[in-house]
Amino acid sequence: MKIMNLVNAINDALDIKLKEDKNMIVYGQDVGVEGGVFRVTEGLQVKHGKDRVFDAPLAESGIAGTAVGMAIAGLRPVIEMQFSGFIYPAFNQIISHIARMHNRSRGRYRMPIVVRMPYGGGINALEHHSESFEAGFAHIPGLKVVIPSTPHDAKGLLISAIESDDPIIFMEPKRIYRAIKQEVQEEKFAIPIGKAAVLQQGTDVTIVAYGAMIREVQKAMVLAKQAGISVELIDLRTIYPIDRETIAQSVKKTGRIITVTEGVRSFGVASEITQIVSEDAFLSLEAPPKRVTGFDTIVPLPRGEHHYMQDAYKIFYEIEKTVNY
């Protein structure tokens, strides 16, 4: 075991797989010499060579589109988008090809591509550096969307993502890149995609969250505990496909559910969870499934960002209302 933060854990997963699989390659803007603007790929170029870990020209569509070709030719590209807010120029390649080539070729060409990117707010960043568009990606058939919340999960999920023969959008909560440290196994291990984790058993209300929001929910749970409310916390881990069973089981027990996300409110992840719960546990529902999310607004610049972000109080506020419904 070794103490790692998220950055270390991701670097470690990349390193292990680069060693193990000669077809895996890593590229993106400034990931080579510089090791990425968040230093996630630090040292990998020196270890694995310039053919396999390298800087791409500044063009996201180019990065994603060439990855499609590489995957067709048998490579396993792990590409980095410098921030999730800069993935949009690559949107056409992602939705039209990464998500579809396998179907279009009727299984002939797999797309074992991982698109890694830091996402989410809370780091006092400029515009476009605080986005959470996971719901948008999750709506695209052919993709899977994975978001870790701890160093341990980051390593295990990224290993699975790299080994997956389906394309994975791998979103890294940059706000906690270095904020959470934890003992992580040094050997290779995998956490299955599509399985949520029940982080805390509880009886009064289920909270579904992921990424940097887990920490905020945990803070809210302290307040809830003081108020005598027992919260069951589910870390979604995979946004698509959602682990319906774990959620339904929990709601059948608690009768109440709140989804907490950083993303924009309307047409977001929370709405999907509500739909699922309505389908799978309707008769158990004792209160309306609620959402604690961003507003239907652009993430404000740092001086206004705290209004937009979820924190312990915002979450606890909704917990109280839901439990007292």
């Binding site: 053919d51 396999r52 791409a56 020209p57 063009a59 569509s61 180019g62 994603a64 589109g65 060439t66 990855a67 499609v68 070709g69 590489m70 995957a71 067709i72 030719a73 048998g74 490579l75 120029p89 056409n92 390649q93 039209s96 090809h97 080539m101 396998h102 179907n103 279009r104 070729s105 009727r106 299984g107 002939r108 060409y109 797999r110 058939p141 052919g142 899977k144 997956s164 023969d165 389906d166 995609i193 599509g194 698509y240 496909p241 959602i242 319906r244």
Partner: protein, 362 residues
């Protein structure tokens, strides 16, 4: 060749004139007579199939189809040079090249009948499916070529795009990445003067499309795309260079889309009869045929061959028509290698619905 015909010199690379006379001996490629006749016949087959397909469409037996008519020399030249081990990254208007790589007409037809099974191209080596989002496929070619390069394979990647496609950002990124990575890819721009109704001058103010190669530090050449010999020589040279790690290469093949954009299009809306007639004189098949005739190589009964080809085309068409139904399973099966449970459930639920429907409808 790439020096003499550098796009900066503003000369189009041409070998035979409209009457099939060799006007540029220096660059006349040496082609075995047998190969030459085969090339002509391949082009004839492609043209026959193409014209037949338009007919099938008129008969309502397939959906929209984009004809190749008039552009056969481009694919026809590539067809003679591309090898089993070379890659083909298609757009959607280069039938001759597909056939050369082992794509069958049945697959082509099946595609335009609306079945994804077609683009598995199961007996074709190193071909990827047709690409509909314009210019996006060029990046795939660059990516494949990157793999070829780092694994030191002796392979060349051929890819196609139209004149309209050069306006897309992906064209820029694909050629630019290829230039930086110095990978063995040949970009062939079929400049057929139009993108649907939009003439090339609305796409770009540059003097040619070939000259865009300068922006990426790659070799480029403007070729008379209706001149089989010029296309052959240029593609052959490009192929050699790419194998010698001296790629990428951008070839602008100047041609004319004699047919409609697709079978849903009506070109009389946006171009004149005079223009069409002017270009008719440059028809690639007529020119090659004139050359063959001059050389005494045109010693076969073309009508008879066309009749045979038509039969073969028909046979392959009927095979596509008789292709198995589209099983429900196929809607779901290839979305993921590892199918999510929820998707499995969607399929089960749909099958349940169908049973219910059956009980209701009858």
């Amino acid at each position: 060749m790439f020096k003499e015909y550098s796009p900066l010199n503003k000369k189009i690379f041409r070998i035979i004139d409209n009457n099939g006379k060799v006007k540029n001996k220096k660059w006349m490629p040496e082609i075995d007579n047998k190969v030459l006749v085969k090339a002509y016949k391949d082009m004839l087959f492609a043209r026959t199939a193409d014209l037949q397909t338009v007919n099938y469409q008129r008969q309502g037996r397939i959906f929209t189809y984009p004809p190749n008519y008039g552009q056969e020399a481009i694919s026809g030249a590539v067809a003679q040079i591309i090898r089993h081990d070379d890659w083909l990254v298609p757009a959607f208007r280069e039938m001759g090249a597909w056939l050369a790589k082992g794509v069958t007409l049945t697959e082509v037809f099946l595609y335009y009948m609306g079945n994804e099974d077609a683009t598995r191209f199961k007996n074709a080596n190193k071909v990827i499916p047709f690409s509909v989002p314009i210019a996006s496929q060029l990046l795939h070619a660059t990516g494949i070529a990157y793999e070829v390069k780092i694994h030191k394979k002796k392979e060349v990647v051929f890819t196609f795009v139209g004149d309209g496609g050069t306006s897309e950002g992906d064209f820029h990124e694909a050629v630019n990445f290829a230039g930086v990575w110095k990978v063995p890819v040949i970009f062939i721009v079929q400049n057929n003067q139009y993108g649907i109704s939009t003439p090339t001058r609305v796409q770009t103010a540059s003097e040619s499309i070939a000259i865009k190669s300068v922006a990426y530090g790659v070799k480029g050449i403007q070729v008379d795309g209706n001149d089989f010999f010029a296309m052959y020589a240029a593609v052959q040279e490009a192929h050699k260079l790419a194998l010698a790690e001296d790629g990428p290469i951008l070839i602008e093949a100047v041609t004319y889309r004699k047919g409609a954009h697709t079978t849903s299009d009506d070109p009389t809306k946006y171009r004149t009869k005079e223009e069409e007639e002017r270009w008719d004189k440059t028809d690639p098949m007529t020119r090659l045929k004139a050359y063959l005739t001059d050389q005494g190589l045109f010693d076969f009964d073309e009508d008879k061959i066309i009749a045979e080809y038509k039969k073969e085309v028909d046979r392959q068409f009927v095979a596509a028509e008789n292709y198995t139904e589209y099983p429900i399973e196929d809607v779901f099966k290839y979305q993921y290698v590892d199918m999510p449970d929820d998707l499995k459930e969607q399929k089960r639920e749909y099958e349940k619905f169908l049973k219910w429907k059956e009980s209701k409808v009858k």
